[in-house]
Amino acid sequence: MKILSLKLTNFMSYKGTHEINFDVPDASPVILFLGENGHGKTTIQHAARWCLYGETNYKERKIPLFDLLNRKSYEAAPAASEVDMEVVLEWEDSKKNYELTRTWSVKKDSSGWVTGSATPSLRIDHKNPVPTTAIPEYVQRFLAKEISHFFFFNGEIQDEFDKMTSNDDGASFIKSEIEKTLSIPVITEAINWLHGKESSESTAIEKANRDNAKIAQYAFDKEQALKEKTVLENELKIQMEKREKARTAIAELNKKIGNIEEVQGLTASLNIETGKIDAITSQRREIFSNIKDHLSTNVWLPNSKYLLKVWKTAQDSKNEYEKAEESARSYLRNIELLSELENSATCPLCNSVHDNTPESVKNRKIDLQKKFDEVSGKYDLGFQGVMELLSLMGFETMKVSKAIDLQKEYDELGARLAKAKNAATEVRNRLSLHGNVDVKESMVNMRAFTQNEEEATRSINSYQEDIKKKASLIESLESAISKGGTVSPEKQAAYNAFRYLRFLFTSGKESYANLVRQQVETFASESFNSIISDKKFVGLKINDSYGVDLLMKDGKIEPLRSTGQAKISAISLINGLIKTAMPEGFILMDTPFGSLDMGHRREVCKWASNSGLKVSLFMHSGEFDRNIDSEFFGNGIGRIYRIHKVDDNESSISVEV
């Protein structure tokens, strides 16, 4: 990596275009820039910085863009015209050519104001420009801004040396800058990034582990819920069986209860018929007793029927006799009438004159007399005989008559009794079809069965609700379980990989930091030993903070005691850094010999020629004595530039042949 050229146009004191060629042979790596103070030596470094980073500082202060513009060019430009300020830096890195151009086209309006902004352009190997956004990346690769001050070293500023070698508070700054040069922050960032990835994976794994614990709990809860659900289901089954049993019993009982109503009706009917029977039987018994009362005690009661029959016959005969008697009387009266008629010319009944022949009346009278005789005899004999018979049988007519009425009533009751008995028999027969039904017990059982059925239904509803809840719980648990949480092997492997790489780079960084510090110390000590004239020192000792001490022959450490020692130490340290961290190095050192005695000037010159770096030294003209210094540099000087001041606003630079 080396600078090939720098071309300045209207930059600070350089009006117009000036080109500086940094390309010198390796054998003659030193370029000298010689000029008086304020003639434009430092401007070369400003131009390179501005081209690379778009800004440059004097000490801690950023130089305003307009102050970088060559005043003379600006003032000379006519109003409403444009003035270009431009710096072109060309370098080589990894055998590629880079040409970075930064241009500020200043438009000068009538009021003298300028407008516009500087724009960079980068071409690689003379090809088309790369995208503007990619330029900073290429610039950083060439020379990171953070460490650029080591390469554009300004020896005019004593603070720089002090910072470089300080063991006090400034050391933290230089340590930081040196570590940047050695890329330690990059490793730190990588470690932090790996740690972040590891933490991220770790967090994910921890979360997964927590989820696993939760899921394990969910699984346990699910098992419990399943068991409880099974218990509930069994209970439900029992209750359903119980209810079914109760319902079956109720159905059977309902069927029975239908019969019971019929039985109840039949039983009531039976009771009625039985009551009737009892009542009739009682009545009959009473009537029978009355019949006995009305009949003679001599008469055997069972024969009364027959006696009554006889009596009836007798009665009929009596009636017949009485009828005969009546007929006889009628015959007799008719005879008397006929006799009267026979003796009278008019009818005794209607006083009319009948033309009946007496003969026919007579004959009629004779017939009647015959009939009268016949009937009259019967009457007389039959009636008397019947009455006598009845009297002989001991009957009293009235009593018998009453007994006969009672008997008739008794018989009627007998018929009713038989009817009631028949009805009762029929009811009993029908009842016998229903078997033995205990109505009371059935009703008690019905209540018990109904109660069982209701209780079972309530339990079933409750169990079903509980089962539903359990099923819902199980479903939600299964859902939670299915979402996983298991630490995947991939995640664990990723975590292990990040963890290992972090471990590797953390350990590596520590070892690397020690190694490169020792390496810097070695290279710096070589430079230091080649420059320092006092041979009691054998090198530099760089501590962990990159503070620099002097290493004595006897191994003792001594602090820097002079500005010259500090300057040589700083140059040595930079050399050590560049040799350690850069494949090819260059350094632009402004005022390198300040505070150095002649002996050390000589050694710095020798070092510059032999350091292996492309060294540009910006020196006061008075610091360089061609006769003396040429000897110090030997053949190390590749080119000498002379910088002249034309006036306060213009410098010129030329190669000294």
Binding site: K491, L501, L504
Partner: protein
């Protein structure tokens, strides 16, 4: 390797040396150690070095991501 500097060589040798010790030790066997080859470690060092002056570390991060992805798939 364009940046074949002394510092880079130190970094690479350091990483490889530590890695070699780790691979030969049993320290990582218990925790499902994910092995990286020497070539992979060198690639990681190169990518890290390539990004050393960049604002982003994408080369290194992308390579780590790629390698870890490969390792996890292999697992």
């Amino acid at each position: 390797m364009s940046d074949d500097t002394v510092a880079y060589q130190h970094l690479l040798s350091t990483l490889l040396e530590i890695h070699a010790k780790n691979r030969s030790s049993n320290d990582f066997e218990d925790v499902d150690f994910v092995d990286f080859s020497e070539t992979e470690i060198q690639q990681l060092a190169e990518s890290l070095w390539a990004n050393r002056f960049s604002e982003s570390r994408t080369d290194f991060q992308d390579l780590v991501g790629k390698l870890v992805a490969e390792k996890t798939v292999q697992k």
